[in-house]
Amino acid sequence: MANERAVSARDRARAVRHAACSALRPGSFEAANLVVLVAALAAWASLWHLELGAAGLAPGSGGMQLARDFFGAALRPALAPVADPDAPPWSLALQALRAAAMTVALAAAALSMAVAGGLGLGFGAAGVFGTGRVGRAIAAVCRVLALTVRSVHELVWAVLLLAAFGRDELVAAIAIALPYAGVLGRLFSEMVEEAPRDAADALAQAGAAPWQSFLWARLPRALPDMLAYVFYRFECALRSSAVLGFFGFPTLGYHIAASFENLHYAEVWTYLYVLAALVLAVDWWSGRLRAEARR
């Protein structure tokens, strides 16, 4: 300590500058700087293109009143329906929990379909069928299929499927499952391809068919990563399922929209808190599972 204090402030500044300069050596840092600069310019140009200035962030007089009412209700979420004094206490809280259960159920059912589809697409794309002409063709088809379904957002799928089949919870689940199957398919195939091939090569040399070495050597190597990713997607599916409520399905989003449009802000906060708690619980669960599965 005494030694350090003896160094004059100027020497200290010079030493810091020197260390900083050596940290600034060319390489990843320069590339990162360039990318940061371009991204910042692009963001600025985008704001300019959308004609967004800081003035637009101030709500108008009506918006100001709304903001006061809305945020004023944050600390006293409703437990009983605001408009119905005769309703039993806690009835709104119970309804929020029911909506939460519906949100989870829809997300889980959708995810189960997505995993099935994702396994098919991912394994096909990763070359279960070998590297012959047929195997490569199947891999290409699976890749294009996964790309197509995942390039369309789940809410857009919902709009499409609702128009085709009408409103049903199964339609909502399929709307979530389609893009998720595409995403899972892409990730599954990447994980299988990035996993070590040692065991698979050994099996192949022992005369195993492509599907055999895939099933018994390549797949087990990638399984922990795949599992961790499925749980992460469950978290995403939960959010998607909640948002599908805005399209009329009885999940949390439906109640958020309905209460907000009726100006019952205290109820909105109840649903928001339940949604946040749900997402955070699954966030913790999937985070812990990722840590365990990768060990």
């Binding site: 990843s28 990162a32 959308l50 519906m102």
Partner: protein, 317 residues
């Protein structure tokens, strides 16, 4: 042979396996089962007589109108424009849609996503500094020396807790819900959409950024601290260069999702591709709707390609 069996059994016994993972998998499977049984699915909507008829009618309406049965009628003038199945008419139809609607909406969607992820990255990077436990503490990277006072320890713990709580709250609310709420507060500009995306993604990028900062190699920051650098100097001279490449990988990964979401948020009523999709749907012009969806899909794919190239550039360097 017995020897080998025993070896295999021992290998099987010693393989890494976690009770938590197994329980989680069983629990998720049970949830999925409950979802199938309890969500009120009616498979009849897909497989029933009416479902099939609906789907077939719908598929027919997805074709561009010049290719639909009967005489193609000019949508604007209401007069026959040419024989059905006329490909040049289809081409003109697509070109006009693109020129009059999709080109501008595509640019808006892209701008919304870029502006949002830019704001989210800036906010997330700042919040990450407050949420990183190795930086937001009384003596970052330099153990030993004077032990900090209780007040300083509590203050920094408060900074970490506040940053983390803010990040958690931001990312727990889906962007669509943010946009829905902000649209009522701010009125119909692009701000609600940009802010909604930025808030949610700032929460995610802040969390990931904090992990990146906590995982940076402590040697360079510790050396700077030993030379007497202040916290801000350490951040600028050591944390930024060490953590930024990895943060950028997450940044571009989030940008991909922003492009997807920017499309959809437009459905709430802003001039982006989602708005066109919702509007074509409201007019029952399913052929135009599919055209807009295809444009949005191509934008998402283009975003994925650009993001993958940029990430490779950052990773290679």
């Amino acid at each position: 042979m017995r020897e080998r069996d025993r070896e295999i059994a021992a290998l099987r016994r010693d393989r890494p396996c976690s009770r938590f993972v197994r329980t989680s998998v069983v629990l998720l499977a049970l949830l999925a089962l409950a979802g199938w049984l309890g969500s009120g699915f009616s498979p009849g909507v897909l497989t029933g007589e009416r479902g099939r008829a609906n789907a077939l009618r719908f598929l027919g309406e997805l074709r561009p109108w010049p290719l639909q049965e009967g005489v193609a009628v000019d949508q604007n003038a209401g007069t026959p424009a040419g024989p059905a199945g006329d490909l040049s008419l289809t081409w003109r139809w697509a070109a006009r849609l693109w020129r009059e609607q999709d080109a501008a909406a595509l640019l808006n969607t892209l701008a919304i996503s870029v502006a949002a992820v830019g704001l989210a990255g800036a906010a997330g990077a700042l919040l990450a500094l407050g949420a990183a436990r190795n930086l937001a503490c009384p003596c970052p990277f330099l153990p030993g020396g004077r032990s900090p006072g209780r007040g300083a320890r509590l203050a920094w713990a408060g900074v970490v807790a506040a940053s983390r709580a803010l990040l958690v709250g931001l990312r727990a609310i889906p962007e669509y819900v943010w946009a829905f709420l902000l649209l009522a507060l701010l009125g119909p500009t692009a701000w609600p959409l940009v802010l909604a995306l930025a808030l949610h993604n700032a929460g995610i990028l802040g969390k990931l950024g904090a992990e990146v900062v906590e995982n940076t190699d402590a040697r360079a920051p510790a050396a700077l601290r030993a030379l007497g650098a202040r916290r801000l100097q350490v951040v600028v001279a050591a944390i930024y260069p060490l953590a930024m490449p990895r943060f950028l990988l997450f940044f571009f990964y989030r940008w991909e999702t922003c492009v997807r979401e920017a499309t959809v948020l437009g459905m709430l009523g802003m001039s982006s591709l989602g708005f066109l999709i919702a509007e074509a749907r409201a007019r029952n012009r399913y052929d135009e709707m599919v055209f807009h969806i295809a444009v949005a899909g191509l934008l998402v794919i283009a975003g994925e390609v650009v993001s993958a190239l940029t990430r490779r550039f950052v990773r290679r360097a």
